[in-house]
Symmetry: C2
Subunit: 96 residues, 2 copies
């Protein structure tokens, strides 16, 4: 069964453009990974500084490999510098 | 463009079975709604009491109609009684 990731970011208002630029590179590389089914950045309708990655992976091992990839290890620390607080990450499996 | 909803619930440990039973009914009815693309309940891998609805709707008007539907208005208050705290709801549109 696939797994789903919700990685919710509260971005500093003055850093939204920078954050989006970094995400563009990250998404481009991530979509090439084997096991990546979906990987996109979504904006909250009422709070535009909430920018959340919604992801779907073939299995946990695909996600592990993503976390170890060069592009993730390079870009994630730069993304973190754009945030008001640490990314809130939840990893899910479908129940119903 | 479709919209995505993440509705995160922290369920009281002793209420997980009841919550899941209510969700089963809600999902069955919701999937029949026009404009519902996805509607499922997902469990956090490390925190099994976190049970989150991941939803996709054709547009905001489909979501509005869902909120007004008989099955939602009937079941949502019962779900709420199973929770440690209020559902955290975010509504998103894809940016990248």
């Amino acid at each position: 069964m696939t797994i789903r990731v919700v990685a919710k970011n509260q971005v500093k208002p003055e850093k939204v453009q920078e954050f989006m630029g970094l995400c563009k590179n990250l998404i481009e590389e991530t979509l090439k990974e084997e096991g990546c089914i979906e990987y996109g950045v979504y904006q909250e309708l009422e709070k535009p500084e909430i920018l959340t990655m919604l992801e779907e992976w073939k299995d946990e091992s695909s996600l592990d490999q993503h976390i170890k990839s060069d592009h993730f290890r390079e870009i994630f620390p730069l993304l973190s510098e754009c945030l008001e607080k640490e990314t809130e990450i939840n990893i899910y499996r479908k129940k119903l």
